[in-house]
C-alpha cells in the first residue's frame, strides 16, 4: 500500500514536470510551427543555473527566479539570431534548432565538464503525506509545477496576451490585420516557452544527477506527449503528459526503465498509427 502511494506520488511528480516542459514545446509549435529541438537544452540550462548558483554560494532559491529569466532571455536571443530567418522554411528550423542544441550541450560540457553533478537538496526534511513519509522537496516540486501549469492556462485562456496568442494560432493573417504584431508575439512566446523549460530544469536539478544529456530525457517524452495528446490544444498536453509520463514512471517501477521506455514508445507509435491527430486533437493534422 505504502509502496503504491509512493509510486503514484513519484509518477505524479514526473507527469507534472513533463507537462511543464511539453507545454512550452507545444506553445512554440502551435504558434510558430517550429519544433524546437533545443527545448531539452533549455531544460538543461535551467538545471545548470542551479548548479551555478550553488557554486556561487547563493544556494538554490535564487535559481528559481534566475533560471526562467536567463533561459527565457537565451530563447529570445536564439529566436532573434537564427529562427526568425527560417519561418518560411519550417523543416529547416528543426535542423537549425538541432544545431543550437548541440552547441548549448557542448558549451555546458566546456564550462561544467561532462560528468554528472549533484546539487544539495534545498529542503532535506520529510513530510507526511497520506500517512507516509515523503521528501518535502518532492512535494514542493509538485506544488510549483501545478502552480505554473495553472498560471500558463490562466495566461492563455484569460489574459489579453493569451487571447492574442490564441488568435495568432487560429489565424495568423487575420490576427495581423487586426493590428497584432505577430513577430513580436513569436519572440515573446518563444521566450515564454523557453522559460517554462528552464524553470522545469531548475526545479528538477536537486533530484536528478545533472549531466549534459539530461535534456533529451525530457524532450522526447515531452514530444511524445504532444503527439499522443494532439497538437493545437493545451488540454491535449495534459492528457498526453499523463499517459506518457505516468505510464513511463509506473512501468519503470515494475520492470526496468528501458523496458518502460520501449513499451511507452511502441504504444505511442501505435496510437499515432490509429489516430494520427492525437487523442484530443482536431481532425486537421
Amino acid at each position: 500500500m505504502t509502496d503504491l502511494i509512493i509510486q503514484l506520488l513519484s509518477a505524479m511528480n514526473f507527469v507534472l514536470v513533463l507537462i511543464m516542459v511539453a507545454m512550452g514545446l507545444m506553445i512554440i509549435f502551435g504558434l510558430m510551427n517550429v519544433i524546437n529541438m533545443a527545448h531539452g537544452e533549455f531544460f538543461l540550462l535551467g538545471a545548470y543555473t542551479v548548479v551555478m548558483t550553488n557554486r556561487l554560494g547563493i544556494g538554490f532559491w535564487p535559481a528559481l527566479v534566475l533560471a526562467p529569466l536567463t533561459v527565457g532571455f537565451i530563447g529570445m536571443l536564439i529566436e532573434y539570431i537564427c529562427i526568425r530567418h527560417l519561418y518560411h522554411r519550417p523543416l529547416d528550423t528543426i535542423l537549425a534548432t538541432w544545431g543550437v542544441s548541440l552547441a548549448i550541450k557542448q558549451l555546458i560540457i566546456i564550462i561544467f565538464g561532462p560528468a554528472g553533478l549533484t546539487v544539495a537538496p534545498p529542503l532535506p526534511q520529510m513530510v507526511t503525506v497520506a500517512g507516509i513519509e515523503y521528501p518535502a522537496y518532492r512535494v514542493f516540486i509538485m506544488a510549483i509545477a501545478l502552480i505554473i501549469i495553472a498560471v500558463t492556462f490562466y495566461i492563455f485562456l484569460k489574459t489579453d496576451f493569451g487571447l492574442g496568442a490564441r488568435a495568432v494560432i487560429a489565424n495568423r493573417d487575420m490576427a495581423a490585420t487586426l493590428g497584432i504584431n505577430t513577430r513580436r508575439m513569436y519572440r515573446t512566446t518563444f521566450a515564454f516557452g523557453s522559460a517554462l523549460a528552464g524553470l522545469a530544469g531548475a526545479v528538477m536539478a536537486p533530484v536528478m544527477s545533472c549531466d549534459p544529456q539530461m535534456g533529451l530525457g525530457f524532450f522526447i517524452p515531452a514530444f511524445l506527449s504532444i503527439l499522443v495528446g494532439g497538437t493545437g490544444t493545451l488540454y491535449g498536453v495534459l492528457a498526453g503528459g499523463a499517459i506518457v509520463g505516468g505510464g513511463d514512471s509506473l512501468l519503470s517501477f515494475h520492470f526496468s526503465p528501458v523496458a518502460a521506455q520501449v513499451v511507452i514508445f511502441s504504444l505511442a507509435i501505435f496510437l499515432i498509427r490509429i489516430r494520427p491527430q492525437g487523442l484530443l486533437g482536431s481532425k486537421k493534422p
Binding site: D160, L163, N181
Partner: protein, 233 residues
C-alpha cells in the same frame, strides 16, 4: 484618401495585379466589381499588407503604406473584413471584438459602446461562441470587429457572400449609416448587384488585373450595360 498607382502583385507564381490605378476620395464608398479570378481579393490583400506588392505605390493620406506589415497598416487606420469573414469561431463575440484593441496600451483597450448601436445583436450575445452564429451574424461581427479601432478606411471583401438577402439589406443599411455618421471611407469588393446599387458612390471594374473602367453610381443605375459587360456571363 487612398491612392494606388501602377500596382503589380503576384500570387503563387502568377502576376495577378497588372498595374492597378485607383483613387478613392475621403468619405466615399467605392465598390470594386469584376468576375471571379480577376484579382479582387488579391488587391484587398495587397492593400492590407498580406501580400507584398511587386511594384507600384499604395498611399494612404499621402503616406506610402505599400509593403508595410499588416499590423502597421492596421495601426495607420485601415480596417479589414476578409472574404469568408474569418472570425475566430472558437472565441466569444466579446473576445473577437477585444482582439482589435490589442495594439493599444492596456488602459486604452476598449470597445466603443457606439458599435452596439449599429449592431445590437452583438451586445445581446456578447458571451456566445462566435462559431455558433449564422453567416449573416458572423458577417456583422466581422464588420464590427474591423470598426473597433476607429479606422479611417474600411476594406470589405465580398460581404454578401453566402448570406441571405434580408441580412444583406440590413448590412447595406448599416454600412451606409456608419459612412454618413463617421465619414469613414469604404472600399468594397462585391458581386451582388443589389448591394452595389444600394451602397456605392463610385464603381470600379476590375478585369484581368487592371481597373478597366470607373463610373459614378448614378450612371450605372440608368444604364447597366457596363455591369453586364464586366460581370455577367
Amino acid at each position: 484618401m487612398l491612392k494606388i498607382s501602377n500596382l503589380h502583385t503576384s500570387y503563387g507564381g502568377s502576376l495577378i495585379l497588372q498595374g492597378i490605378d485607383l483613387k478613392v476620395k475621403r468619405a466615399e464608398i467605392m465598390v470594386i466589381m469584376g468576375r471571379n479570378g480577376m484579382g479582387k481579393t488579391t488587391l484587398m490583400k495587397t492593400i492590407m499588407g498580406l501580400l507584398p506588392p511587386q511594384s507600384g505605390k499604395i498611399e494612404l493620406e499621402n503616406e506610402s503604406i505599400g509593403g508595410l506589415k499588416p499590423h502597421k497598416i492596421a495601426a495607420k487606420g485601415v480596417g479589414f473584413v476578409p472574404q469568408g469573414r474569418e472570425i475566430f469561431s472558437d472565441f466569444t463575440v466579446w473576445d473577437n471584438l477585444r482582439l482589435a484593441t490589442m495594439r493599444y496600451p492596456r488602459k486604452k483597450r476598449c470597445v466603443p459602446e457606439k458599435l452596439f448601436e449599429y449592431f445590437p445583436i452583438l451586445k445581446e450575445r456578447k458571451n456566445q461562441r462566435a462559431g455558433s452564429f449564422s453567416g449573416g451574424e458572423q458577417q456583422m461581427l466581422a464588420i464590427a470587429r474591423a470598426l473597433v479601432a476607429n479606422p479611417k478606411l474600411l476594406l470589405l471583401d465580398e460581404p454578401s457572400e453566402g448570406i441571405q438577402p434580408s441580412i444583406i439589406q440590413e448590412i447595406t443599411r448599416i454600412l451606409r449609416a456608419i459612412n454618413k455618421e463617421t465619414g469613414i471611407t469604404i472600399v468594397i469588393v462585391e458581386q451582388n448587384v443589389d448591394m452595389i446599387l444600394d451602397l456605392a458612390d463610385t464603381c470600379a471594374f476590375l478585369e484581368k488585373g487592371r481597373i478597366a473602367d470607373t463610373c459614378p453610381k448614378d450612371a450605372l443605375q440608368k444604364d447597366d450595360s457596363m455591369i453586364t459587360r464586366y460581370m455577367a456571363l
